[in-house]
Symmetry: C3
Subunit: 344 residues, 3 copies
């Protein structure tokens, strides 16, 4: 499909500068722009590319002031970044969506199926599962007995959801993620360990998105709970009885140990690790690879392992890098003192 | 199902204090106790909750001495923690267990199937596989050619076991885990690499439990071996030719590089990394995120990366956090020495 | 199958020393050598074992000079390591290879299938997928709509490839890996986040090998690109719009954040983390657990988090471990200065 610049501008309530009749049929990044594509310029770091891009149309912020002649049509909008997000979503929505029940699928007795489902081939829907409206369950997904799935939720290929878990509405779970495997609970017993049965479940509230190959363990008792709007990236590990507060975001490969409560609106970089039985208050920000071993107060910005205040950490780390020099200075002082003493 | 407090007490050989006729139908955590549930108090940190809990019955240790009136029936037992573990296991065992062979499953020629199997739909059982008695293989699991699985082992949904691997008895492997993928072996060759074929296998001894989305690679030659009673959490990586000793426990996201031998009764926190070709002796304890680059002697308690003795590490880290102050003190000394020198 | 030592020597263009008629039927490691197996000695650290090994035949380098009597037949070759790699590959190739299309498999309309495919049971091949010649797709793999797969590529059990991704020739993707899940892109919106649609794809060039349960996210726009000859180990995370240069190797559990460009011929140890929007130049070497937060120049060898030059890091870390002593020396100097001052 092709669109005229002026039609895209109308859609975005933007203003055309240049040829409004030029046609685009795809989007591209400004630094890799190709003819008949639409790019965007939001980050000033990329301004240089707008003067040479081959993209036919570029979305820019209203206040963008070119310092040279631009070779393309501009569409000025209040926020180029938000405008491109709107266009990407429209583009994505134009992709044909799968629907219906492919064969063979395994649908056990007593499944409640909502309107307009997609159930992919080789998907497994256990006994007593309740599926809302407009739910998509991709091929080879496993939905254990008694699981509930809210409206407009998408479960990608090969996701495994153990029995009794509850998935909210408008959730997205990417391929390979496992929800509701047993928490890691063992009681020492002589030489070895006895398993502690994990009879709780996992609850995902609405608008949760989880990346690929992540793990959210079921609770020993009660629920491991991922609250509304939480976004977890690939390969994240959430242990039993953890609670993750609303709109908290964790980058890939983070791990949260058992029973820890993470507040709302937190942001964790990749590979962060948090010990068990802690309380991480709202709006905590953790740099990548941070290791948290104590409770964290609201609004903290931490790094390091064990973690402490990030700006303090950076100062300490600057001096860590200077340790050989500091050591040399210490040695010099020792010599000077020896000299002073010998002169007394 | 409902049980009277006095019947639970009888089962646990405990002593009722309060109303023995009160009915419970579920378990709960003491801090979230609800009417008609049974909770437990083992950790003194949680004692406060017993005076306000809505749980109808609470398991306590024989020597628990309440400091206020408790609103619930108590059952006194030698160990509240062990007693709750017994009850959780009973509760779990009451859940109906899947059995039989669901259709469609793929069962190749020459499979030896033990008594009372469960084979879920879309499970794949390769040629010459030998399955013990009372084995459960959940939907979408893949059991490669020639794999052997011992009695009473449970393989959850979507587990992938490559050809020729050996799984012991009483093992549990959670969803998405991959056993026996090729070890990461490449020989430099001009600009690139030639793959080194990995013709060994993986052996899991008895009573091994592995979490979800973990990876245990096959050996180049011989076996990667996970010994009796080992417990590995989610997303753990065990490379080719590694040996993990009996009853060793690793928390989530640990990684052990090729050919390293880990001893028995070790405990590793989350996100620990161990380099290749090392020997980690028995009873080693590693704090979360520790990075091990050398052999470790028996009974060591290590942290840091590169790792060393944990109590020494903590002392060093306290001073790391004080580096700005130490730097200031060093500067002050320099000035004082200048002053001293000028006065001579 | 059994082979005579002299026939193996002929195959490898090696020279027999000892009984050329001795038969071997398997390979073993020299430290675990068993009768009728062939072992190899390449690393001098293992020389001790050649004097006691029960292996019947041992491959050694041409210049190996035994210091004692060896109990086995030797085959001298230019490189024992390369020779064993050749034999392992031959051994591996003798294993019967799966072929044909197992039932039930799901093959959508308009799939282009090359010569001599293997499609395992419960594999899902979406609309318009193009599959080259001699491709193996193991059971329960998911190949989304419009995916292209080159000749001689092997996709193991349960791999999930999202729509529109491109997989080169001679690639190997191990079980459970997810290619093309959405990049982790969310735009803040009031209290929460709006998802940024990820309309790009993933391109794997030729001769790429990816371990088990890894994740390569699709690009927001354009492609996440893994170039020719790259080898990624298990549980590696590659975020959206990342480029990994030719013949770069990453050990298990590494993570690369969005839009970062990694050069060619780099080598990363396990659990390395790289922040987003960076440029890591060719031939960079990163120690395990390194955390990179800035661009890295060609040929750098880095460790630490935040990372810097590895040899400098090691010097700093030696002094970190000595901080309690340095602190003591600082205290001593303070006292000496006090003494000096009091004497003036």
């Amino acid at each position: 499909m092709e669109f005229k610049a002026k039609d895209i501008a109308a859609l975005l309530q933007g203003v055309v500068e240049g040829d409004g009749e030029v046609l685009v049929n795809n989007v591209s990044k400004i630094e890799e722009g190709k003819p008949h594509t639409l790019a965007f310029l939001a980050n000033p770091k990329y301004e240089q590319y707008i003067y040479t891009t081959e993209a036919s149309v570029v979305l820019v912020n209203h206040d963008f002031l070119p310092s040279q002649i631009v070779p393309c049509t501009l569409i000025r909008v209040p926020s180029a970044y938000e405008a491109i997000a709107v266009l990407l979503r429209m583009y994505e929505n134009m992709r044909p969506q799968p629907c219906g029940i492919e064969q063979p699928a395994y649908i056990a007795d007593g499944v409640e199926m909502g309107e307009a489902p997609y159930i992919g081939a080789f998907a497994y829907i256990g006994k007593g599962v309740k599926i809302g409206n407009h739910v998509k369950i991709y091929p080879q997904a496993y939905i254990g007995d008694g699981v509930t799935i809210g409206d407009h939720t998408t479960i990608y290929a090969g996701v495994k959801i153990y029995h009794g878990c509850v998935i909210g509405s408008d959730c997205t779970i990417h391929a390979g993620t496992v929800i509701g495997a047993d928490g890691f609970g063992f009681a020492p017993s002589g030489e070895g360990y006895n398993k502690v049965a994990q009879i709780g479940n996992v609850v995902l509230e609405d608008q949760v998105e989880i990346g690929a190959n992540a793990c959210i363990d079921r609770a020993t008792m009660g629920s491991t709970r991922i609250k509304k709007g939480v976004k977890l990236d690939n390969l994240v590990q959430i242990a039993h009885n953890v609670v993750v507060g609303e709109n908290t975001v964790m980058a890939a490969q983070c791990g949260v140990a058992g029973t820890t409560k993470v507040g709302a609106h937190c942001m964790f970089g990749g590979q962060v690790g948090i010990a068990g039985h802690l309380k991480i208050e709202d709006k905590t920000m953790l740099a990548a690879q941070t290791g948290v071993t104590n409770n964290v107060a609201e609004g903290s910005v931490f790094m390091g392992a064990p973690a402490f205040d990030a700006s303090k950490y950076r100062k300490c780390y600057v001096l860590f890098r200077k340790l050989p020099e500091l050591y040399g200075q210490l040695r010099d002082l020792e010599k000077e003192i020896q000299t002073l003493k010998s002169k007394q």
